[in-house]
Amino acid sequence: MSSHWLPVAGEGLRRLRRWPLRTALSAVTSAVAIAVTVNVISLSQGLDEDIRRDVERFGLRTLDVEAASVVAPGTRVDPLTLADLDRIRARVADLDPEAVVPRRHAVGTRIPDGRRVQLVAAPPDYLGTLDVPLAAGRWLTAADAAGRDGPGPLACALDSQAAADLWPGLAPAACLGRPLEVRVAGRPLRLVVVGVLSDPLRYRVLFETFDSSRGARTLSSALLAFRNVYLPFEALDGAPLSGISVVARRAAQVEALRERLFDLWPPRAAGLAAFLEPGIGVFVRKDWMDALGGSTQTGVMVGNFVWIVIVLVAAILIATLGLVGIRERYDEIAVRRCEGARRRAVAWQITVEGTVTALLGGALGLPLGYLGAALLRALVDFPFRFEIRYALPATGVALALGLLGSVLPARRAARLDPARVLGRRIT
């Protein structure tokens, strides 16, 4: 086999070297196609994976009992109370969850500029409902709650975006110790920043672009907006609870906890429909994350229509350029057949040429794609990127297309009757 194969491969390579310009152009074309393909896959697929990973930091083991986010004016929803907190604690006690955390939400305004701030009052173990590290400073402690009755300002912690809104351009560490005065429910509250949480979302810009005012989000869905100012739970004393979170010790415990909470607040509908019924309900953050991951993927498919078209075009181009190249070489193939070359040898030679060109293109395309992504990133603030882990499949696809683009026409060309091909030319 190798004795037949080697001369055929050699002929293919010789031919590539004989027409360096043509070889270079073919290689560049497949290089550009590969570069574009890898960029597109990296952008949509990689971005989607990143978003899923980031979103998981909003608490993979957390369950929430809270009012469903359904706008239905006139529907009466009794708010949660401290008695509900006790009921939950009693119901899940034997499962020994990591934490059962109540919280109160309020809208306040900053003094003096009237800027709106979202306040969340929660006990120290609230941080356990999230999987977000501190960017600077510390989280609230039990000692901070005692400060409510003291003469000094009350300790508060900020989400990174709240810090960025309050003090634009300031690093998280520089926000520590800054005073913040807000008016909430008519009374002023003096605060001092003791900690700033880091932003779990790497691509915040994508989440904010189409909801830059975050107007359509509700208080309890403000997780994504990440603009909360956290106070000790007692700071908003007297207000009803806006939510109670239960944190499982292990991911496997989430289902058992859900069943227990369903005993207290039976599910009103299955799946996504549960989000469409007003009233207090049990929500598992993991479900929400899956929904978000799933819908960003579909959204990415529709939103990245442009990119998908580009990839398809690249594929079509690679496949048909082989075809155009081979149509042009019917004569040469006929001559080779007259010289005694076997059909299979001719087909193999063309296939080798196509593969080598595609491989050359792949080798060229990877650095080209990397440079292209860097260039695009520099031009526009958009997470263009080039990930080597997608390069292999993309190169494989390009290679396959290159082969498809050369094998099929090569077989057809090899099957042509040499006498007819050459005869057509002479007449």
């Binding site: 706008v71 939400h105 989000f275 819908s295 042009e328």
Partner: protein
């Protein structure tokens, strides 16, 4: 050979082998199409938001108490005044702002559209984007129960028509009503559009847009009455609670308006959700620059890809013809004559490819617009981008033809033919 003759020869050569020509052309066609269509959609939608903003409802703003706030404090007439004050300073004229309370709803028959009775403040019709076909809004001199009906109320109640002066009784509502005004029917596309600007009747709305919005933390909203065209409005008499505060702004002011209204209500301790079209106002704001730049970067990338392919194809098409050119030289064609022929052919390829590319680009733009569940998406032909793409195609096509043409011309015809 005169130019016209060369042109005719090139075109007939293209037409003689349509499949081969199409293969040759497709690089240019795809390159040009992919380069122009994102710009076509972005610019078309932007223009649609600017010029048809009111028609597609891009300026609507609805404020409603946050359903997840505890305690949930309903909006009041005092809140309406706060919003009016906050929005008054935004544009040249104070926009229409209204408060609405839902009093009830019912159906005349099980299969009839649901009729909703609402109490509203005087600018309700304007704030809802409605105009009167006849009559007026109930005044202080009108008897209690004076009302304005929307266009489909007559149908919903099984009456042939309703006009000012007609008496009315609504299912589930004991008080008799008297029609004093009738609103014009709304555009069906607008009737399907929700406050977030999504076309609720679109094939991808339920399967793609709605789950995505829910996952992003946008609440589900029960406001089917807004899209029914079967509402009955009476004047809001007392200074009681409001379910909704509605406004119509200039579309470019919507994002700022929503923020200002939420700030004003936040200062009064009110947690509200502000619903407004999510996409079109963004296209009119600063954020669009980012999309403009992304689109521009894409245009550039597509041009590069297209250019490489055009060069490749151009080169192949001439290389293929070394022998034919040699023959022409033997037949007595001069070198400049052969060069002119190749250049004209390259030019014709680029122009025809660009024209087909325009058509394909328009088709892709139309497909993209149809895939979008947001109402108001549109496309226009992007003349600037198209011209740039066509010029690049022409330049690259000619350059790609020039090099082999130069070689072919220099080639001794005897050698060119003896190749075989």
């Amino acid at each position: 050979m005169p130019w016209t003759e060369l042109l005719r020869a090139s075109v007939s050569r293209l037409l003689r082998r349509p499949v081969a020509s199409l293969l040759l052309l497709q690089g240019t066609v795809w390159g040009v199409a992919v380069a122009i269509f994102p710009a076509a959609v972005l610019e078309g939608t932007r223009q649609s938001a600017l010029t048809r903003g009111a028609a597609v409802g891009a300026g609507r703003l609805a404020l409603v108490a946050d359903p997840t706030a505890a305690p949930r404090t309903p909006l009041t007439v005092a809140d309406l005044t706060r919003v009016e004050r906050a929005l008054a300073g935004l544009g040249s004229a104070p926009p229409p702002v209204a408060g609405v309370r839902r009093l009830g709803s019912g159906r005349a028959r099980p299969d009839a559209p649901e009729v909703t009775l609402l109490a509203g403040t005087p600018r309700t019709l304007e704030a809802r984007g409605l105009t009167l076909a006849a009559g007026r809004w109930p005044g202080p001199d009108d008897p209690p129960g004076a009302c304005v009906v929307e266009a489909r109320v007559a149908e919903a109640l099984g009456r042939p028509a309703l006009g000012p002066g007609d008496a009315l009784r609504l299912p589930g509502h004991p008080e008799p009503l008297l029609v004093v005004g009738v609103a014009r029917a709304r555009d069906p596309a607008l009737l399907r559009t929700d406050d977030l600007g999504f076309d609720t009747g679109h094939g991808l709305y339920e399967s793609v847009a709605r789950p995505f919005l829910l996952a992003m933390g946008v609440p589900s909203v029960r406001d089917g009455w807004k899209r029914s065209d079967a509402c009955v409005y009476v004047a809001l008499g007392d200074a009681g609670e409001l379910d909704w505060i509605l406004a119509r702004l200039d579309p470019p002011l919507v994002l700022r308006g929503a923020e200002a209204a939420r700030d004003a209500l936040g200062a009064a301790g009110r947690a509200v959700v502000a619903l407004h079209p999510l996409v079109l106002p963004v296209l009119l704001g600063d954020e669009v620059d980012r999309f403009g730049r992304v689109s521009w970067a894409m245009f550039l990338a597509c041009l590069v890809m297209g250019a490489v392919v055009i060069a490749h194809v151009g080169l192949l098409s001439v290389l293929e013809r070394t022998r034919e050119l040699a023959l022409r030289r033997v037949e007595g064609a001069t070198r400049p004559g052969v060069a002119a022929q190749i250049l004209v052919e390259g030019g014709v390829l680029a122009v025809v490819g660009s024209l087909l590319g325009f058509a394909l680009g328009a088709g892709l733009a139309e497909l993209r617009v149809r895939l979008e569940p947001v109402h108001g998406f549109d496309w226009v032909f992007p003349t600037g981008h198209a011209l740039a793409a066509a010029l690049v195609a022409l330049g690259v096509g000619l350059l790609a033809a020039l090099l082999p043409a130069w070689r072919a011309v220099r080639l001794d015809p005897v050698e060119g033919l003896a190749d075989e």
